[in-house]
Amino acid sequence: MILDAIFSPEFLNNTLRATTPILFAALASAIASKSGVINMALEGIMLFTALFGVIFSAAFQSPWLGLLATMAVGGFIGFLLAFFVLRLKTDEILAAIAINLIANGATILILLFVSGDRGISSSIQSIIIPRITLPIIKDIPFLGEVLSNQNVLTYISLIMVAVVHIFLYKTPLGLQIRAVGENKDAAESVGISSKKIRYISLTLSGVIASLGGFFLSGGYMTKFTIGMSAGRGFIALAASAMGGNTPIGSFLVSLLFGAAQALSNILQLGAWPHELVQMLPYATTLIGLGVYSYSRMKKRQRLTGR
């Protein structure tokens, strides 16, 4: 019965849906990591932007203008992280933890201040980004049911995989980002300002993560609830690390974690104890990380002949 559920087009459709926020964050993490900085603040950025998405889409009465404004917020937080790490020489992990902490408190405070709501943004009239049916594709058996009728942001996330790939591997700026990440001093010696590149990378990282944050409260769900990023920013760190910080690798691993999330969502409705089922995405990430790291270690040992 469960197997039937897993191989149904419905499940794969849900998998893409659940993958979307993780994928955005994983792409964000990939760009930051390629430039040589770990962006652990993704969790906080997603939480902040999930809230601002609701606020802005209600204020502008347009999800698209709301999304645009939210992206600016995400970029700003990414820039702030860069400022602390690069200008003030703050440890990148501790700076990110601080941002995540601030996000936890500030989202509650801002929600209360803006709407008087506690816990969930029930009185904010936010507008979500719609789902669309794809012409032609929707008529293809099976595949149509999987791919069509998704949220526009889900399609954007898939397109972003290609965009980030081209950006990193086919543009001069992408090359500079990778150069700084590979060897900062070598990049500096040919006249690349590593600071500037990292500012750009972290800001971009924030912008892309904000799409994931917006999706959480304006697509995946229809309201903001406190703590709704629920570790997805951290899962995304694992996804991009396991995907070798490449966009395509990050996408494949995100799909795996998205599937675990979707499976957990389905099983919670059944007879299974929902607490144990909720462990699935995190357990998958932990085990996946172990398997990936182990094979990478073996490969390196083989290459160095030890």
Partner: protein, 355 residues
């Protein structure tokens, strides 16, 4: 005290001051009665014995978590599973106390040992994964927290739940296992002494033993430590096992002292509180109780403030975040530092010429 230490203290105080100013600014912007709120936040805990008792009660778990993370951070192991270790410690303490019938004194002692062992497992898994598969401790330890949360909630609602109680809570821990209060009129319990003892022992371990020295050297520079013949794999394991044990004991102590029933259905955030404490204490366990007192005072003040005004307690997490950012920022006050160094160098020159 050399000028560097003095400067460090000055920087930390200034960071705290700025963070508080920013928080006051936020209170002024959002509150209808900002002055009352700020007065409550700053002086609330001093207004009665019970309230000051609340500060000490809140300080106890923070000491454990601050010491636990200081040991892991001193070895430069960024293991953030302390949150989960604390949580599981509380669960294990409840489970063990409910399923054993031991005499007084032995019972609470055995219970917190079990809690410590369970905490050790939680931080031990990422440590073993790092050693056996070279997995990044940061990510694996974060995943542990969520796994422990859902696992604990499962055990609570399916095994330990007291059906007679209205909410989802466990059966009450037998009274022989519970900690008594040591000061009447407050809920301050014997765990305070355990916490302070742990802080002192951890200080002795880190600064007065060979293993502790090796641990700190490895934390400073792993490659140097390896070449000096230190078994860095052992250090990786030991630091995280010890750290997790302390977190686990903290969870057990908190449960026996303050709760008596397991009621935790969400992560309590002690793992993150530990970060600010170790930041303020500069990874030195002996300073941890002071940092824990500061945070506990702020928390208690915030809680009093939120009860009597329209400002919510979460304002404190913002203060915490800003303090971490400023204290860790190496360049914060760096110009001033350079000035001091230049002045001292000049003074030394003048002295030499005078000879």
């Amino acid at each position: 005290m050399n000028s560097n230490t003095k400067l460090n203290i000055l920087r930390t105080l200034l960071a705290v001051f700025i963070a508080l100013l920013i928080s006051f600014g936020i209170i002024f912007l959002t509150s209808e009665e900002p002055v009352k709120a700020i007065v409550q936040l700053l002086t609330g805990p001093l207004q009665s014995q019970r309230r000051f008792g609340n500060v000490i009660e809140a300080m106890i778990p923070l000491i454990f978590t601050g010491v636990g993370i200081s040991i892991m951070f001193a070895a430069n192991e960024i293991n953030l599973a302390g949150e989960g270790a604390f949580h599981l410690g509380g669960l294990a303490a409840t489970y063990f106390a409910l399923n054993t019938a031991l005499p007084p004194v032995i019972s609470p002692l055995a219970t917190i040992i079990v809690a410590g062992l369970c905490g050790m497992i939680v931080t031990g898994i990422p440590a073993l994964m790092k050693i056996k598969t070279e997995s990044d401790v940061l990510v694996s330890s974060l995943m542990m927290n969520y796994l422990i949360l859902y696992f604990s909630t499962y055990i609570l609602s399916n095994i330990l739940r007291d059906p007679k109680a209205g909410a989802v809570v466990s059966y009450a821990v037998p009274s022989v296992t519970q900690f008594g209060t040591i000061i009447s009129g407050t809920r301050i319990h014997i765990g305070l002494f355990i916490a302070l003892a742990v802080a002192v022992l951890a200080y002795v371990f880190l600064y007065k033993t060979k293993l502790g020295y090796e641990l700190r050297v490895t934390g400073e520079n792993r490659e140097f430590a390896r070449y000096s013949g230190i078994n860095v794999v052992k250090i990786t394991l030991v630091s995280q096992l010890v750290g997790g044990t302390i977190f686990g004991i903290g969870g057990g102590v908190e449960l026996l002292g303050m709760y008596n029933r397991f009621t935790w259905t969400s992560l309590l955030g002690y793992g993150w509180d530990a970060i600010i404490i170790t930041t303020l204490a500069k990874k030195n366990p002996i300073y941890v109780p002071f940092a824990a007192f500061f945070l506990a005072y702020l928390r208690t003040g915030a809680s009093i403030m939120s009860r009597s005004t329209d400002v919510v307690t979460e304002i404190v997490t913002i203060t915490q975040g800003i303090i971490i950012l400023l204290v860790v920022a190496e360049q914060f006050l760096s110009k001033y530092k350079h000035k001091i160094i230049a002045r001292e160098a000049k003074a030394a020159l003048v002295e030499k010429e005078g000879e």
